[in-house]
Subunit: 593 residues, 2 copies
């Protein structure tokens, strides 16, 4: 069975040595001293490894069951959920007035990676509650906040997001779920929603569904969509639970993975709902949560990749097969461990350099969210808004690839369920799809975010890269050669791609959109390249100063060199593809596929 | 539920217009007239679509069950197996003297693609029988051939290959299964084999296991391995079945996919076995089948990709979501079909251009096998031996990627099992692992095949590309620009990589092996680029002559242009990676992963 070790040391390095959070001048960050974050991460790591990880295989094997409308979660899930609640983890970054601990989002993200890596299906129950609570926090009336948030922050009540219908996912303007206004100001919600994660289960007293629906008589299409709070059990004025509402789970989906999470068909049959935010502004209410939710999904890509990588390393050191071509390294044994073989190394370095680079990118992104939300910094908000589709799309595409590579190291043992490596790929696969399929992320990036506010944010991104290069180049030849030059080249590729879009996208937008997937990937590489340069510089400085753990810093530098040499040059290929435009992509009549 | 349409038209185009098989001067090919192959392919297509395809989901859902040592295959498998046998399909390319039809391997490969695409798990039962029968054909005594082959060619008896043990897969020298010589010339086989596909099931009267084992007292390691025939039921002198032999299925593996195939732990407990071929030369006997078996697995990568692609196209044309950015294409409907969107096109073109290129490569490779085996052509044998790891490794890596892309087009519907797209990825995953994991293929290519016979075969490959370019360049500017120039550039990259290995691999073989995976992929791209150039030229000539189906040929050209513009340039990235050598790959101590 797989194991999981929380990467607390790497996280501490990132938070304190690279991002220097206590000096970041973001409200709340001054409290995040090294010992304090260390204690929290250690505790989160313990519950991840000892409680959540052992349930990961059980959740996959048992899955959820639906009987007479009741969904049963896998053995042990409810007890573990109680432990997580008792530890106060669900409210870590929620406001104190609703029972939370008011920690910054960056800390919630670090903890979230551990929880997700040890048990993604389980962690989604609290993740969706967090998302629904954030929506109520942002758009709810005081009464709504007081009614729902204390229970949701504690996870006594869990939450869901109801967007998709059988005939529409991305294009929510096609939605059919109706909301009939009632005399008392409430609405009767009728319709069917599908793919509702945690839609029904046995781990909480109540479930608060956030449901997108169209108020009868409102505008057509996406402009007529509103957001509603639909509790599973009605809530009495004194906060106690009342009658069952007209919402029920009609079916559980059989899925490729995340079996431990109940993915429900939800039927709304005149269910009582309460408008959240303004009429017909449901999409706006959804979008305020999007950046956080998508960053959270990007984090899942990294989390599954790291968990799979950790196990692949253990196997590669343990499994004896063949001899090193440069001479036996385990001469007294019957064979050498897999890890002596260059192509196994290549695969492990792909995984390691991705995972550590992605972790830096995610935590840096979380500081941007804190800077925007806690500090009211509009530039940070614009920058993270630009990068959100990159974080979501690139990290989940690559994260999935890495789970496949980790599985591959096991040979045939990777294909049988007994070893648990198949689950990592099956679970990681969903992150490329939900919260907006990665093709939609690429479209969002190229079709919307690039030009947002007159291209201001993408220019700010390039300025950030240029400033970094200017400040750090020319001090050390090896650093220039290994980090600065590759970063420069990749950044130049990215700029050339943007230029191609500007010059050709105006006359035919397909010239830009046909390259959207490549652009998202090259953008991701440049971001990870920048992160690796920053990490490497930090480690090089520490080594020069003789501070910290020399082996850790040398390993960090070597891993960074690998990324810059072997991964970052992918930008040139993406640029080549982009510059061929839309002609070959759009050449065929639909009938000729 | 997914559907499958056999690509008979494309196969006929390849066999007759591109490969011109009747003019190929390969023994047996003169019979392969267009009408004749057309009739066979149509029949094979019918049974694939109508019989095998409907059982694909059933096989995945039900899987196999083991009870009291008896393995039950999914509902309908046995009846379908009878239909396949009645059609004479298992013996299509087997010798007439054992009941086969003596057709060339190229035709068996085309039919195999259809069977595999419609139901990989099912088709493996006959595929393994084919492999075992081929081994007996190549290495068996006349008595062994007469005893086993007529039954195996008819699939009345099926076959298996037993190599892997719990502690050894690739490194078979570590094997522990023992063979004790008996006074009557037979052996008593004792040991455990794992991952034995079709090891036990209810579809045939007998199962003929080919088992690698070490004769007691023989040489250590791989030089002491011999191959044995171990029947499930002993065969009496009159050909009737006798007592049960000492071999039994100890367990069925739970796998990520190919649930319809029984993957068994096989326990040999003093089972009677008969030496096949020479003592201690078991590996040589295995290797004579390797090229065919690995080409067959490469074909599975293509087959799953094509089946998944076909369904993705149907969904992309059917599912309405969003509007074309260049103006509504379905203005009377609520939205446009997915296929209007450039990134959906990009994905479908990736799939289509891979699948058709891979099919050309596989069928061309099959003609090389026929040229070698039927025509005794040592050069063809050397060339296909060089390219075998490319066919196996590249086509299964890419084939898997394509099933993931096809699944992605379905959004959330791709993740739930109901739509069947998850099965394509789960089934395709195994092809990257079995018959030698793809890392081992890359090692075989770079560590063994490149230098084989003094590098003669790789030089022959480059000569083939150069001759093609020389014969076809300079006749048409558009063809030069779209096909010749990209092929030249990619081939130059491949040569530069080979040169890097020669110059650096001598002083440190890791400099070559660290680039083995990249080299295998760039080699695959060059092969598909060559195939696309050949197909495009054929279609361009047909259009110029006004012969054939103009739409088919125009589509072929457009698809080829896509591959050359968007896929082939990946060679430059692989070359860049290769030229960074082993330093960053091997930098870390194993302890620091």
């Amino acid at each position: 069975m797989p194991s999981y070790t929380a990467p607390t040391k790497d996280m501490q390095f990132l938070l304190h040595d690279v991002l220097k959070i206590t000096e970041a001048e973001i409200p709340g960050y001054d409290e995040l001293e090294r010992d304090f974050t260390g204690a929290i991460l250690e505790e989160a790591g313990k519950i991840s490894s000892a409680v959540l990880q052992p349930l990961n295989t059980i959740g996959d094997t048992e899955g959820c069951t639906l009987e007479n409308g009741v969904v049963r979660t896998p053995t042990g899930f409810k007890a573990a959920f109680e432990q997580v609640k008792e530890g106060g983890w669900p409210g870590l970054d929620m406001p104190e007035e609703y029972g939370g601990q008011n920690m910054p989002y960056v800390l919630g993200t670090a903890v979230g990676e551990m929880f997700s890596a040890s048990n993604q299906a389980f962690t989604m129950y609290q993740g969706l509650t967090h998302g629904a609570a954030s929506a109520i926090l942002a758009h709810g009336s005081d009464e709504q906040k007081n009614t729902y948030l204390p229970k949701m922050v504690a996870c006594d009540w869990t939450g869901t997001m109801n967007l998709t219908e059988p005939h529409c996912g991305t294009d929510l303007g096609l939605m059919r779920t109706k909301a009939e206004p009632q005399a008392d100001g409430s609405f009767k919600i009728t319709g069917q929603k599908i793919f509702i994660s945690a839609g029904e289960h046995d781990m909480s007293d109540n479930i608060i569904h956030l449901v997108l629906a169209k108020i009868t008589g409102g505008p057509e299409g996406i402009k007529g969509v509103s957001l509603f709070i639909v509790p599973k059990f009605m809530v009495n004025e004194d906060g106690s639970l009342g009658a069952r509402n007209g919402v029920a789970c009609g079916n559980l989906e059989e899925k490729m993975g995340i079996h431990g999470n109940s993915t429900c068909v939800m039927n709304y049959d005149g269910a009582t709902g309460y408008l959240l935010g303004q009429e017909h502004k449901g999409m706006r209410a959804m979008f305020t949560m999007m950046n956080e939710a998508r960053l959270g999904v990007g984090m899942q890509g990294l989390a599954q990749a790291d968990a799979a990588y950790q196990n692949a390393v253990i196997y590669a050191k343990d499994r004896l097969q063949g001899r090193a071509v440069t001479g036996a390294e385990n001469p007294d044994g019957p064979a050498d461990p897999l890890i002596v073989h260059p192509d196994i190394r290549r695969s492990l370095m792909d995984q390691k350099s991705f995972t550590e680079g992605a972790r830096a990118f995610i935590l840096w992104g979380a500081t941007m969210i804190d800077r925007a939300h806690r500090g009211g910094d509009a530039d940070a908000d614009g920058l993270i808004s630009l990068l959100t589709p990159v974080i979501k799309g690139f990290l989940t595409d690559k994260g999935y690839d890495m789970t496949v590579q980790a599985q591959q190291i096991y040979g045939g043992h990777g294909y049988i369920e007994e070893w648990g490596m198949s689950q990592y790929t099956r679970d990681a696969r969903i992150a490329m799809i939900y919260e907006g399929a990665n093709g939609v992320q690429a479209l969002d990036l190229v079709g919307r975010k690039l030009a947002q506010d007159g291209g201001k944010h993408v220019m700010a991104f390039f300025d950030m890269v240029k400033s970094y290069i200017k400040e750090n180049a020319g001090q050390d030849d090896a650093f220039d050669r290994d980090f600065i030059e590759p970063l420069k080249a990749a950044s130049k590729d990215l700029q050339a791609a943007g230029m191609y879009f500007m010059q050709n996208g105006m006359k035919n937008p397909n010239h830009a959109l046909a390259g959207s997937n490549d652009f998202m990937h090259m953008f991701g590489h440049v971001c990870l390249g920048l992160m690796w340069a920053r990490m490497a510089k930090t480690s090089a400085d520490a080594l020069a100063a003789g501070t910290g753990d020399a082996t850790f810093h040398e390993t960090k530098l070597a891993t960074g060199r690998y990324y810059m040499a072997r991964q970052l040059p992918a930008t040139a290929m993406h640029l080549t593809r982009i510059q061929t435009g839309a002609d070959t992509v759009m050449a065929l009549d639909a009938a000729n596929f």
